[in-house]
Symmetry: C2
Subunit: 260 residues, 2 copies
């Protein structure tokens, strides 16, 4: 107890510095570091990265070295200069060209979640979310704040798509859904999970159910297979609704109507 | 690659959620959870914690369970109720009564550092600190922002004291300073390291050198051994100064004069 070598003290420091680790990751995404290195023909020095991204040399060097420590980048010395390249982790999850890129989710966390969590103590005290303090948006319902502008709605929709690109298949395979000709994704957002579903279960049709604003944005900004196996249905969870196309006329209680 | 079981994906999630871990720790400190449990005669249920701290029941239950997951609290079931107590980590580093308590540093990080790091991408872009965006304090010098009010100065001074309470001794023992009858701590702040020094090297006198505001605050808010082995000297690093009492009249270049 009470020494820098103490395992408990080391753990405490890891916890208290956790936000810095998050921000190194978020900042490198935001500034385009991983995309630049993915597109470059070979490893780049920090001065070249700074010049191409139009950002400060000193800041870039420190950021790149922090990314190396986190195993997001690897560094080697070529003709006396340190040059950086993406690790496999960055190639798979942080470069925009990868089908499993998580950038939208990370930028959503950086721009929304991180700022809300600055008020965690007040949230626990009040028992309420802190969107009013964080964004000036009064909200009893989470999604009123998450969807506070068209840009924010789109950011969140793309962020969910990132998650499903990695986790969708294992969620959908947890139970065998192949006997069902029609699957309805309630609150299906951009249709990302629906696409995974239609891909995994080649015989089914998927209906994405969500509020009108989200359905319109999904149709406008996302693409879907042309075989017509994914369709959309607009509604709100607070009303009793009937899902078009059946499910035996199943009725669902809607609990997020004030979003619409 | 591209599956939830992938080690790289798991690491990425740990990084992106790091700020949540920090905030759970910060919030539990801020709300007084560890102090309450340290002073209670035995483990407490979440309803009792919520009632005594005057905070929400649901938020408290979730916060306590998050602290259990982080090994900051331990939980057991007594007569059908989950009751919580501090772990050794919390007793040593998070309860105010412990001589190695780190609460001031953690609250400084929660209230200042976390908010600055929200702007890391801009800081790397500009190559400058972001105190203006975070706190409306224009600053070319770190300490103008850190010391932006009397309360903030005191918070920071106490935070440094927390660090030295654990790390001071090993820093001071890294080299044998026992041959030196006079040690001068330049930028010695609250005198926390000076006290560790006087305690480790029982024959030496320690002079704490810092800007006048800090020296005055140190004398006003912190206590020192009565044997007179710790004294203060006011100055600024940008001027060439002579340390009173000697060091052979050693001169030091001051680089933080605009703080004073």
């Amino acid at each position: 107890m009470g020494s820098p070598e103490d395992e408990a003290y080391r753990l405490l420091q890891e916890y208290s510095n956790g936000f810095m680790v998050s921000q190194v990751l978020f900042a490198a995404c935001e500034l385009g570091v991983f995309d630049l290195l993915a597109e470059a023909p070979g490893p780049l020095g920090s001065a070249a990265v700074a010049a191409r991204l139009g950002i400060s040399c000193r800041g870039t060097e420190q950021l790149l070295d922090a990314c190396v420590a986190l195993r997001l980048l690897r560094v080697q010395v070529r003709t006396g200069e340190a040059v950086y390249a993406n690790t496999e982790l960055a190639s798979a999850y942080l470069a925009r060209a990868s089908p499993t890129c998580q950038q939208h989710m990370l930028l959503y966390m950086a721009r929304t979640t991180y700022l809300c969590w600055a008020h965690l103590a007040e949230a626990v005290r009040d028992g309420e979310n802190q969107y009013l303090k964080a964004f000036g948006v009064s909200s009893k319902e989470l999604f009123t704040a998450v969807y506070r502008s068209e840009a924010e709605r789109l950011q969140f929709m793309r962020a969910l798509g990132d998650v499903w690109s990695v986790e969708g298949r294992s969620v959908l395979a947890a139970f065998d859904l192949s006997p069902f000709p029609l699957v309805c994704d309630l609150g299906g957002c951009s249709g990302a999970l629906a696409k995974e579903c239609a891909s995994l279960y080649t015989g089914c049709h998927v209906t994405v159910f969500d509020i009108p604003d989200v359905v319109q944005a999904a149709k406008r900004h996302f693409s879907f297979p042309e075989d017509g196996r994914i369709s959309f249905s607009e509604g709100g969870f607070r009303r009793v609704v009937r899902v078009p196309g059946g499910l035996g006329g199943a009725a669902f209680m809607d609990n997020s109507n004030d979003v619409a």
